[in-house]
Subunit: 195 residues, 2 copies
């Protein structure tokens, strides 16, 4: 399990392919991107791509995972009893940071994300983290749990996804404003109402 020459070589190649692929995706669009162009940039043979990534979609799947990581870290850094509003604002602040300059890849990444997460939900991903936070907030009486907490987490995260997709097509508005508005709408809607 040591970090051998071979390990470093493999990761270096993989990283080159990863970056080359994102570059070609940005240039040609995900759909029209050719694996030949990717491997040309990365300086490896065509089939080396498939050794590292079963399909083009797996590159976006990795982008999804990589961008999710700092968000998970930020949420985990919050105290367990943090206000739910703070948790959600933290999530959106990081989403904004990660995605605001990646407009061209948002829709395809989200579309791929739909399928990937659908197939194999990450046990320690953002969904699970938020599910826990929602469950705690419900215990504390801050949240009306009309659905199972994991499903509410899905609804919230896919709502963020929706907001980003919607933002990606409507020019003009800033992403963080849209995400914040979606947060308020969600919190307002999910909050335990007085009546």
């Amino acid at each position: 399990m040591a970090d051998t020459t071979r390990d470093r070589q493999r990761e270096a190649t993989r990283q080159r392919l990863y970056e080359a692929a994102l570059g070609i995706f940005r240039r040609d669009g995900f759909r029209d991107a050719r694996v030949d162009d990717i491997t040309l940039v990365a300086g490896v043979s065509r089939t080396a791509f498939y050794f590292h990534f079963p399909t083009k979609e797996d590159v976006l799947s990795e982008l999804m995972r990589r961008t999710e990581q700092p968000i998970c870290d930020a949420v985990m850094a919050l105290p367990q009893d943090a206000e739910l509003a703070l948790v959600l604002d933290t999530v959106t602040e990081w989403m904004n940071r990660v995605w605001q300059d990646e407009r061209a890849l948002i829709i395809d990444t989200m579309a791929v994300g739909l399928r990937i997460e659908a197939g194999s939900p990450q046990p320690n991903g953002l969904r699970a983290l938020l599910g826990n936070r929602f469950a705690r907030a419900a215990e504390g009486g801050m949240l009306s749990l009309s659905q199972r907490p994991e499903m509410l987490a899905d609804l919230y995260l896919l709502g963020c996804l929706s907001t980003m997709v919607s933002w990606a097509q409507h020019e003009g508005s800033s992403l963080i404003d849209s995400l914040t508005a979606a947060n308020r709408l969600f919190l307002n809607g999910a909050r335990k109402s007085p009546n």
Copy 2:
């Protein structure tokens, strides 16, 4: 523009291809579906498929449009001053009707829908219809318009989409219950609050 023999022939072929494609998608999954298998079932040559549908995705795009139509009709049948809650319940009732028995195709259809609608929003589609309803509700003081009405319509519809995707993976619960819960959450969140 008469309904000529040629027109009927073309539409018949197109319809056979459409149904054959959905059948193969259900059997093999969208991704692994082969055009050869589709045209074999439809009884036409391989390239006839591409004459009618530029890509496999266009079949799902058509499914999206076809399923949207009855929902639009149902909404348009409501009086202009109908309660927003009634409008949204009508939407979800029809979504449930259309999609509850099509679980296998939901995620891919929605993923395609993301890209299609992103590219060319339908002027008379559900988005536009709901945008109008939201704008009217805001005029009537029933809705707090934190965002432009079209964007709110996006957020709502993509929320429905999210709910269906989430439902498609969590076995057990009924679709209409999930959609109704999402409706309440949205309405509760978007309603003009007393404070």
